[in-house]
């Protein structure tokens, strides 16, 4: 049996070009989504954190609509940054501990691709829910429907950026004791551009200046990090495993 199975393997192993790479990417995303589904608490933690932090401000400040409208973009975006931070530490930690990361490094598929798969799954699990619930939370701040739309759009472009940059930090602090705090210290400064342009887009829209400029810059940052973040992450992962 061993030989009959091995005989039909080379066909699938040989097409490790374009199609094979896609299959590996899909397999990584699928595995991480399955894992998220089996450990629901981890997924819900960052979402609930986001909801609670954003809801605390109107309660603390009181019903002053004018003030709430002004602070809304900043509060929502800062809360999104912190919620993204919460789940980052687990991005590679489990794979590191159980030996899966070694196997990923040794896989014939490019490690950058596998990292992209993990980041994509991380975004689907922790970033996308924030995007979807943000308009509902924005209502507490009396944002106009158009501003809510821009808020959603800015988070849609911005949260993948947070996952990509965060992956670099998560890889750099892998296996370091007390890595959680270090991770925040490393990553939060790198989030500043995303925060400025993301919150800036919503502010610009509220004040009637138009959000296109900010959103374009945010998208440019995303394009840049899609290229460079996997590269930096793979380099850090290889060092962590040495």
């Amino acid at each position: 049996m061993r030989h009959s199975l091995a005989a039909n393997l080379p066909a699938s192993a040989a097409e490790h070009g374009g199609l094979g790479a896609m299959r590996v990417l899909v397999a990584v995303i699928r595995r991480d989504l399955l894992l998220a589904l089996r450990r629901k608490s981890e997924v819900l933690t960052s979402l609930f954190f986001f909801v609670i932090v954003v809801s605390l401000f109107p309660l603390g400040i009181g019903p002053e609509m004018a003030l709430l409208r002004i602070i809304a973009p900043g509060v929502l975006w800062v809360a999104a940054l912190l919620a993204a931070m919460l789940s980052l530490q687990r991005l590679f930690a489990a794979d590191y501990a159980d030996g899966t990361l070694e196997q990923m490094v040794l896989s014939p598929a490019p490690l950058g691709l596998l990292v992209m798969g993990k980041v994509a799954a991380h975004w689907l699990v922790t970033g996308l829910p924030l995007v979807l619930i943000a308009p509902l939370l924005g209502l507490q701040y009396d944002l106009a429907p158009q501003a809510l739309g821009i808020l959603m759009l800015s988070l849609l472009i911005g949260t993948p950026l947070l996952s990509l940059i965060g992956a670099i930090g998560a890889a750099l602090t892998l296996g370091v004791r007390g890595g959680g705090v270090l991770l925040s210290l490393l990553t939060l400064p790198l989030y500043i551009p995303a925060l400025i342009f993301g919150a800036g887009a919503v502010e610009a829209d509220i004040s009637g200046l138009g959000a296109v400029g900010h959103l374009s810059l945010l998208a440019a940052l995303l394009a840049l990090s899609v290229f460079f973040a996997p590269w930096a992450t793979t380099a850090s992962l290889r060092i962590a495993l040495e």
Partner: protein, 205 residues
């Protein structure tokens, strides 16, 4: 052909080994022995390309492995101390993901059949955390059944296995060697592998 030339390994400020060399030809196996902490795992990780040697060179068919990239990664199968299994996923899901990572597509029916051959029939849909140590090791070892890699690097493959599984594994490694494969392995147990030219490399401090 795997050649190691003048390898050295330093962990912290301790030199684990130096001037280590060997040649492993097709159909050969190398037993790495030595006390705990003598650098067996470090050597095996070096041979896979996970960590660069402090000094010296590792060559695969005459060319340095560092320069070969995924060509070499395709040629090596590494089974470490860790089983690289996800506790929340079932044995079948684990097997299919591992296979996909190596670029091999395993269908559900094939996966069930493979798990049956490692003695896990009827437990395919059970999350791995409900399996015993030995059963987890068997799931990890199922990789050997579909591997197309010529070089197997196995770190303590016999740990946690019962005697039936030990002889099964010895047969699998033997079949791999008779088919022209190579194996590097560490083991504290004396296990009779039925085929292949054996070499022993003893690491001492």
């Amino acid at each position: 052909m795997l050649t190691a030339i003048d390898l050295a390994c330093v962990r912290g400020d301790r030199r684990l080994f130096a001037h280590l060399g060997f040649t492993l030809e097709s159909g050969g196996r190398l037993h790495v022995t030595g006390e705990n902490g003598s650098g067996k795992t470090s050597l095996l990780r070096m041979l896979c390309g996970l960590s660069p040697p402090e000094a010296g060179e590792i060559r695969w068919h005459g060319e340095t492995i560092a320069r070969q990239g995924d060509e070499y990664r395709k040629a090596v199968l590494y089974l470490g101390h860790h089983n690289a299994l996800k506790e929340e996923l079932t044995a079948l899901e684990n097997l299919r993901t591992t296979a996909a990572l190596s670029g091999v597509a395993v269908e559900d029916a094939e996966g069930v059949e493979l798990l049956g051959r490692v003695g896990l029939a009827g437990r395919e849909e059970l999350p791995v955390r409900f399996l015993s140590q030995g059963q987890k090791r068997r799931v990890a070892l199922s990789r050997l059944l579909w591997s197309t890699s010529p070089l197997w690097v196995l770190d303590e493959p016999f740990v946690a296995l019962d005697s039936a599984a030990v002889s099964w594994l010895a047969d699998i490694v033997g079949a791999h060697l008779s088919g022209g494969g190579m194996a590097v392995l560490t083991s504290h147990q004396e296990v009779e592998i039925p085929a292949g030219r054996a070499q022993t490399l003893r690491l001492s401090q």
